[in-house]
């Protein structure tokens, strides 16, 4: 009887540990990189008439220099030079100008590649593999 009780207690403790592991588990796992996401968004009827879906290639921060926002790699260098790297110096700049509303695209941007790109990549890989196999066989 004593053994049964301690076994049950041990089981309860382990079970509780397993449940805790679930609770403690971080959710910071990458959700991007799934081609189905791009497809799901593109096929979504609710979005079809109001927005398009596009995959991002690269994002370049829009540099903030005083009251002026400068974008693009050509001006990044000079903008960074101008920008006060010291936080205290920067705090003297006009926060009113800096807090102006920003423009946001209506396009739904995703890190996913478009499905045709995924298929093209897969086909290329398959072709390469086939070529390699053929060459190997000839040898």
């Amino acid at each position: 009887m004593k053994n049964s009780r301690s076994t049950l207690m041990l089981t309860a403790l382990f079970s509780s540990a397993l449940l805790i592991q679930t609770a403690a588990a971080d959710d910071s796992i990458d959700h991007s990189g799934k081609a189905s996401k791009h497809s799901a968004l593109a096929a979504s009827e609710g979005l079809a008439t109001t927005a398009s879906v596009a995959s991002a290639v690269v994002a370049v921060p829009v540099i903030l220099t005083g009251s002026v926002v400068i974008a693009g790699s050509a001006v990044v260098e000079s903008a960074v030079d101008e920008s006060a790297r010291n936080v205290h110096a920067a705090s003297h700049q006009s926060s009113v100008d800096n807090n102006q509303p920003l423009v946001i695209t209506e396009t739904i941007i995703t890190a996913d590649p478009a499905p045709n790109k995924v298929i093209a990549t897969t086909n290329t890989t398959t072709t390469n593999t086939t070529t390699t196999t053929t060459t190997t066989t000839k040898r």
């Binding site: 009887m1 805790i20 994002a59 926002v69 960074v80 920003l102």
Partner: protein, 303 residues
């Protein structure tokens, strides 16, 4: 492993000719093991959910896209060129007391070059993500709001808008490609923010923030500064339970902790930024565009 244990227990019953009480006790043990196995399977599935369950959205693509765009527009309306963003991946009741958000990152207003050659303005989100297969490893990945909220449990965002000066310093971290220097790929969900042994997503955010504020990427200096000024969130679980959890997941370890287990959370980050005047506003933004201003930062996690 458990099958072997059950089989050997069965053999023990038949070979050793246990008495009635012994057989009953053994039966209880076997039932317990079966229960434990079932729980283990369920929890392993859940624990590995990053690449599986998390891949399945809880909401329709329209709802996620609309919410993501609303979050972007809210931040843009505030003039935020850099802000801290958090999502909730689990029900609040499943979280340790005092913790609400499960993932935190930094959003930077950017020119985004699209696959079709066009350029659009929006927020790129710079994340530290746990590897779905190797749970004690992380990667730096840039994604976009719809990716960020794709598998969130709730259409709810934690948003901290830093002061203009801090925004500017954060933007410099990314435009000069310095944020990656703060990455420690050794991951633990309850990483200790006061040393460099492990790092989670929110600790990485804290490190980037402090690197921006102090204009240094010297890790030792940043950890010393964090220890002097930052108050982490206590993980409200017993050490024994956390220890057991670490046995079952590579993504949980206590090796970087002393007696107390404390980690970086969205709430502790919000409190830190408020205390040192690094933030202008902290809100919880929900799907019906309801905005809750968090005046009392002690509630940023637990509200």
């Amino acid at each position: 492993m458990f099958r072997k244990k059950v089989a050997s227990a069965k053999r023990a019953i038949s070979n050793q000719g246990l008495g009635y009480q012994g057989r009953e006790s053994m039966k209880t043990f076997l039932y317990s093991m079966v229960l434990l196995m079932a729980l283990l399977v369920v929890n392993v599935d859940h624990a590995l959910a990053g690449s599986q369950q998390h891949g399945k959205p809880s909401f329709s693509p329209e709802a996620i896209a609309t919410f993501s765009k609303d979050v972007e527009k809210y931040a843009a309306g505030q003039g935020a060129r850099a802000f801290i963003i958090a999502r909730r991946g689990r029900p609040v009741e499943d979280m340790p007391e005092g913790i609400r958000f499960t993932h935190t990152a930094i959003a930077i207003y950017s020119n985004i070059q699209l696959e079709n050659g066009e350029t659009a303005k929006g927020y790129a989100i710079h994340n530290l993500y746990q590897d779905a297969d190797k749970q004690d490893v992380s990667h730096l990945i840039t994604d976009y709001p719809v990716d960020f909220f794709w598998s969130a449990y709730a259409l709810e965002a934690g948003i901290i808008i830093p002061s203009v000066a801090v925004q500017q310093a954060l933007i410099s971290m990314y435009s000069e490609d310095k944020a990656k220097l703060l990455h420690n790929p050794r991951y633990s969900v309850v990483a200790n923010p006061f040393n460099s042994e492990r790092q989670n997503c929110t600790e990485y955010t804290l490190d980037v923030l402090n690197a921006a504020v102090y204009s240094t990427t010297d890790i030792a200096q940043l950890k010393a500064n964090a220890k002097a000024h930052f108050t982490p969130q206590k993980v409200n679980m017993s050490r024994a339970k956390l220890g057991l959890a670490s046995m079952f997941s590579d993504g949980v370890t206590l090796s970087d902790h002393g007696r107390k287990v404390e980690t970086t959370t969205f709430g502790s980050l919000a409190r830190y930024m408020q205390k040192y005047d690094l933030s202008e506003k902290t809100v919880i933004f929900t799907s019906n565009e309801q905005i809750t201003n968090i005046e009392e930062f002690s509630n940023a996690d637990s509200e």
